[in-house]
Symmetry: C2
Subunit: 430 residues, 2 copies
């Protein structure tokens, strides 16, 4: 029997605030044991540091890290989501396994250095060539393993190039022949997962890429298997228009009417979702994933966060295009986007009016819920996933236990994050 680690930082996030003198027991299996004033000699005394739950990045397309620094020149005038998608397809067209492995490893390593310990990799770039084969699925899993990041591989079903349209050009790299082929691949991947750090989730890429009947079937099977289910929903007006044209109602109305929405369903973006559709979706327990940096970069617009919050909605956060990786920046701009929208401060707030506590929940607990991972809090039986902050960093000067979270979320960046721990295994980043 291995002796558990006993971790003690100067300050530890308890879920309600930062407290001094807290010890965290981590067992050999990588789970948290007891948490509190245990009166033990720490095996890891993290002086001058604060311990937080590791951040959960609920929505990533790792390969899009390859677009960083590209597609930001607009000689013909302003661009849009759709001109960006052309640049993304260009990258896809040139992709081979080696390039994908490099991009994905780099993106995952960079995620850890900004405090992310779990990634939900919404993975649709499956094939090394247009013939199929799913060779890229294992590239992603191997990259996660190399970096030591926890991953929920959100395996995307992608069937059509637009509603009722065949796959064209680079989209063939994404395609799944039929639902049998999809589940066959899920069953092939399952035994290859690293069991303590890797899991699978089910994805219908979007209403553009999977027909309604197949979405229903996919979702039913995912629920039968106890898997989480993710889908891009209403990021762009054009997607809504095409859906209304084909199905007579917007995507979210369709999902509410045809699926049994539950806490295992996560709708990504919901930038343009109508209030009544959102209300029904949230009442059934659905999660919303926002990606502030990417949605701003793409000029998508701003979701109705205040209304989602008022209805008790669980919002989680994703780095999406990985153009810029910083969970702290994502969180403050999630709130700031809303401030700019409504010209009032404190849109994301809990019952006590605390903004950053509500934002931190999004980056931890709510993300873990959306991915079906037992992480996101420093509590007994949760996974021992942590983010470690350097209290001596100049950007945190003057912070106390009471003001540290506000100082971090509104006033600091990646430069304050010195280490992360995934399942009890530490990596130092600075």
């Amino acid at each position: 029997m291995t002796t558990p680690q006993i971790i003690e930082a100067d300050l530890t996030w308890t879920g309600d605030g930062f407290a001094a003198g807290v010890q965290v027991e981590v067992d050999a299996g990588g789970h948290i044991g007891r948490v509190g004033v245990l009166g033990q000699t720490p095996t890891e005394r993290l002086a001058g540091k604060a311990l937080l739950p590791g951040f959960v990045n609920a929505h990533s397309h790792a390969f899009q890290r390859g677009l960083r620094g590209h597609g930001e020149t607009f000689p013909a005038g302003a661009g849009s989501f759709w001109t960006w998608r052309e640049a993304m397809y260009g990258l896809v067209d040139s992709m081979d396994a080696s390039h994908l492995a490099t991009l994905t490893r780099n993106a995952f390593a960079e995620m850890r250095s900004c405090g992310i310990t779990t990634v939900g990799e919404f993975h649709y770039l499956h094939h090394d060539a247009s013939e199929g084969g799913f060779a890229f699925d294992e590239v992603i899993l191997a990259a996660a393993e190399a970096v030591g990041i926890r991953i929920a591989l959100l395996q995307a079903c992608y069937r059509t190039g637009d509603i009722d349209a065949p796959l064209a050009g680079p989209q063939r790299r994404f395609g799944v022949a039929d639902l049998d082929a999809y589940w066959t691949q899920i069953d092939r991947l399952t035994p290859r997962l690293e069991p303590t750090r890797q899991s699978l989730g089910v994805v219908a890429h979007s209403i553009r890429a999977v027909g309604l009947e197949e979405i229903v079937t996919l979702h039913e099977e995912a629920m039968r298997r106890g898997m989480v289910f993710h889908m891009h929903v209403e990021e762009q007006p054009r997607e809504i228009e095409a859906c209304v044209h084909r199905y007579h109602v917007p995507p979210m109305t369709l999902l509410n009417e045809h699926l049994v929405i539950s806490p295992r369903f996560t709708a990504v973006h919901c930038t343009h979702t109508a209030a009544d559709d959102m209300e029904r979706f949230l009442a059934a327990g659905g999660n919303v994933c926002l990606c502030p940096l990417t949605e701003a970069n793409l000029g998508d617009g701003l979701a109705a966060v205040a209304a989602i919050r008022r209805q008790g909605g669980r919002i989680c956060v994703g780095s999406d295009s990985n153009l810029r990786l910083s969970m702290l920046e994502e969180l403050r701009w999630l709130e700031y986007g809303q401030r700019l929208r409504g010209m009032e401060r404190g849109v994301v707030r809990d019952e006590q009016g605390r903004v950053t506590r509500a934002l931190l929940e999004m980056a931890t607990r709510h993300g873990a819920r959306a991915l079906g991972v037992r992480a996101g809090a420093i509590e007994p039986e949760k996974l021992a996933d942590f983010c470690l902050v350097d209290l001596e960093h100049p950007s945190l000067a003057g912070a106390t236990a009471e003001t540290l979270l506000d100082t971090l979320v509104f006033g600091a960046g990646n430069e304050t994050i010195v280490a992360t721990c995934v399942g009890g295994v530490w990596a130092w980043h600075r």
Copy 2:
């Protein structure tokens, strides 16, 4: 005669792009000499690094660094600019010279670590007690000197607590008895400046704090002396309403009608400025200073950047409240705020459609123009102020000379900035 420094980084920003093999001569007086392929042996070979002009922070209130981590809880519901101002007044009330010195030194040091080499310190907190004395002016200059940052001390005239209202409570720390007292203090400070790194500018705090006649007189004297002039303009609708009530027109209309606007005038914020007022102001050569992080934090709203750009307006950038210090984050969110506003990409762009080149101009050349400082470019006779970037940082992996600026501005943060140089004197930050 001292031999000049010859600096050579792997890549150097030439104003039009990054180039390899460029050598930059820096004379003993801290100015740039020749720039180009000089065929010399570098005295500073900065391998694995890129050299940029140091950033110019055109608008700062250093003491507000003390509010970081405060004022972000809203128990009574959402807050506003005005609830924030109450928190700021609380900090002012408690301020002594020692606390101010610490906050200011910390803020200036943090600025350098994010690539800023010149700060325009919009300084209105003059007095150690409500009796006057201007003791705090020299605290600011001493802090800048201790940190080695170049400073334009933008000395604010603050006369009224609101239009025609007496100063009240903490505002008495800001007050100037009359314009004679203002200019006496300017004349007292002038010989105390460190001549190579410190200069003075003239400020009317806002239409709330200085009456129109005195603004006109102050501005005329500033122009007579060849000094720059800064003023907060139209950040909040309430300021415009009060001005219309008193003067029958908005602040910017007043300024256009009563002042001879020139390139030495900088209007800070202009969040709610009417299109025709802005057009007239820009046609006269006025500068606009935007503060994206602070304006978002305060829920001010978004200025009409596309229109300002179309009219050839020079926009510079300030860190204002210093709640968060990151020039790269300011720049990308300047563009992203506009993308969210208009749902199109590439709002800030030059004639060739390049977004980041236009943004970098704002953080360098345009800021230098607004502060009247010969910095902001790596060119002969400019001040030798640089920002040095670590090309080996993981967030820049994959960047080439062609994509580096886009990668930096959209994809990176303070963690990539390793050193700054002010007037030929280097400081390393990591």
